[in-house]
């Protein structure tokens, strides 16, 4: 790997003539193989902000979906308004409004907080808030689609056994809906990992902000943005592995689940390895 890297650097060096861009490949390779503390911290922020925001989004999505399907009209109106508003305005506007808008108007100034031994700056809180609330609006529709995909007979069976609506939802409907929800949820989280880069606008030092600063500092946009792309690709690829694992776990009880599910390699590469069995259900 390192030999290959050196070869590329030498080649680039030879090719650089008068007026052409001077490649500085060590910037790229060091960013990948020897990331400094800034990059590692950016990576940590991107990952942790994504996870927390997505979790908030899922929770809000469940409430949004249930609200949208509620018999009680005010719940329905509230849920509809929430989804309408956050899907109808740009995320960038939401981020800047929540951070700059609220703090300048002294409605909420986002003071730093200490939680679980972590010092969380105001812009990070605002970023998580905006990403989570925005995500919740999209998750509402995904969760709702999952719930209505479940046979109404399931709710009736649960009710006939003496369960309340809440019990039936939590124990019977949502676990089944989860199987329908996870693939689009995977998409959402993949998006989330990349969308955190918008937080550059409120100076959250996440992955993109770090690389953006570095490229300005060394004037090497090609190398540093390419390195940023590789890091994002690494994150999203890792996630697709985790997602495949989750989907397999949720597949229990489904007709034809188990042996016939495509394996990890085939899911990632889109290729189905030939197996000796014919996979009869």
């Amino acid at each position: 790997m390192l030999v290959g890297a050196l070869a590329v650097v030498l080649l680039a060096g030879c090719a650089s003539g008068e007026g052409s861009y001077q490649y500085h490949w060590p910037y790229f390779f060091n960013s990948i193989f020897h990331p400094d503390d800034q990059i590692l911290y950016g990576l940590w922020l991107t990952l942790s902000i994504s996870i927390v925001s997505q979790l908030i989004g899922v929770v809000l999505g469940v409430f949004g979906a249930l609200g949208k399907m509620a018999k009680f009209l005010p719940f329905r109106l509230l849920a509809n308004f929430y989804i309408w508003f956050f899907r109808g305005t740009p995320l960038l506007v939401q981020i800047t409004f929540f951070f700059f808008g609220l703090s300048v108007a002294k409605i909420y100034t986002w003071p730093p907080i200490d939680l679980f031994g972590l010092h969380i700056e105001g812009e990070i809180q605002a970023g998580i808030f905006a990403l989570g609330v925005n995500e919740g609006a999209y998750m509402s529709e995904i969760v709702r689609a999952g719930i209505i995909s479940i046979d109404p007979g399931q709710l009736e069976a649960a009710k006939s056994l003496g369960m309340t609506y809440a019990q039936a939802m939590w124990r019977i409907i949502l676990p089944q809906a989860a199987r329908v929800i996870v693939p689009p949820l995977g998409n959402e989280f993949n998006n989330m990992l990349k969308t955190t880069s918008l937080l550059v606008i409120i100076s959250v030092p996440e992955l993109y902000t770090i690389f953006s600063r570095k490229q300005g500092q060394y004037f090497a946009p090609f190398e540093f943005f390419l390195a940023a792309a590789v890091w994002y690709l690494l994150l999203t690829t890792l996630w697709s592995i985790v997602q495949a694992w989750i989907e397999r776990r949720l597949g229990k009880g489904a007709a034809g689940a188990s042996a016939n599910e495509p394996g990890l390699a085939s899911r990632l590469l889109g290729y189905r390895w030939r197996t000796s069995g014919t996979g009869v259900r």
Partner: protein
């Protein structure tokens, strides 16, 4: 089917009780779906240990009626009592007001229901399906519920299928698990909504056999079905519904030898 220890008989509601006790008392039940008047003044009394079979063409309201008995459907007028409790409603100044959800849920614990399409929980094994409500609704310890569930599975001939998911069971097996699931709540009354209509012909027998056994043990049952053989063998009473009304009622013998109404005669001639 083997003989069952007496304590498990108790668990499935089969211990004999005074036969005069009224379990279901429905009076003048009316229901509309929008403008469609689907139940037109249904009255019915079912005593403890009685088996009532409800017959009638599709659209006659028979399924709707038994769904009203555990309040899966609302009614617009009339009263339905199960074990003396007004189902689904409170009476406020002579008017029906829908009861609190928790009260309705409590009432449903006493009423087992078996559906045409089984409605087993696909993400849970046969055993988990059966212990779900005892553990999470009745708050019975898991070990105790599991023991009862295993006895019930043995009772419906599926002891070996405890850890199997519904998708891996045949229709007849699924329906037998569904019956065991309803019985696990120790209901005072069992409602069967066309329990064999979605089954392949060769699986109907195994489900009916379980139901017959249950009837013999003294379970109070209301069964909507087209299985006339079952009606003839185990029903104490047959009720014929047509266009939302009960048009004829009597012993199975009465229905098979001497039906009075023209509508009944033509219906029976088509399905027998």
């Amino acid at each position: 089917m083997s003989t069952i220890p007496r304590d498990i008989l108790g668990a499935i509601g089969g211990v004999p009780k005074p036969p005069s006790e009224v379990v279901v008392q429905a009076t003048d039940v009316n229901k509309w779906f929008g403008r469609l008047h689907v139940l037109r003044g249904i009255s019915m009394t079912v005593k403890r240990q009685e088996v009532v079979v409800v017959i009638g063409a599709s659209g006659s309201g028979k399924t709707t009626f038994i769904r009203c008995i555990n309040h899966l459907e609302k009614i617009q007028s009339g009263r339905i009592f199960v074990n003396g409790h007004l189902i689904g409603y409170r009476e406020v100044n002579g008017k029906l007001v829908e009861d609190r959800e928790s009260n309705i849920a409590r009432q449903r614990q006493e009423i087992g229901m078996v559906f045409q399409r089984f409605n087993l929980f696909p993400h849970k094994t046969a055993l988990e399906n059966i212990i779900e409500a005892p553990v999470h609704v009745r708050k019975i310890p898991v070990a105790e519920a599991t023991e009862t569930a295993k006895a019930l599975l043995a009772r419906v001939g599926l002891a070996a299928k405890a850890d199997v998911y519904p998708a891996q069971l045949s229709g007849g097996q699924q329906q037998r698990v569904a019956i065991a699931r309803a019985l696990a709540m120790k209901p005072a009354l069992m409602l069967f909504d066309e329990p064999t209509s979605a089954l392949d012909p060769e699986m109907i027998g195994e489900v009916l056999e379980v139901m017959k056994e249950l009837a013999r043990e003294g379970m109070t049952m209301i069964v909507v079905t087209h299985e006339m053989g079952f009606a003839r063998e185990v029903a104490d009473r047959v009720v014929m519904m047509d266009e939302g009304q009960i048009i004829e009622e009597g012993t199975p013998e009465h229905f098979f030898t001497n039906p009075q109404q023209e509508r009944t005669k033509s219906f029976l001639s088509k399905i027998l």
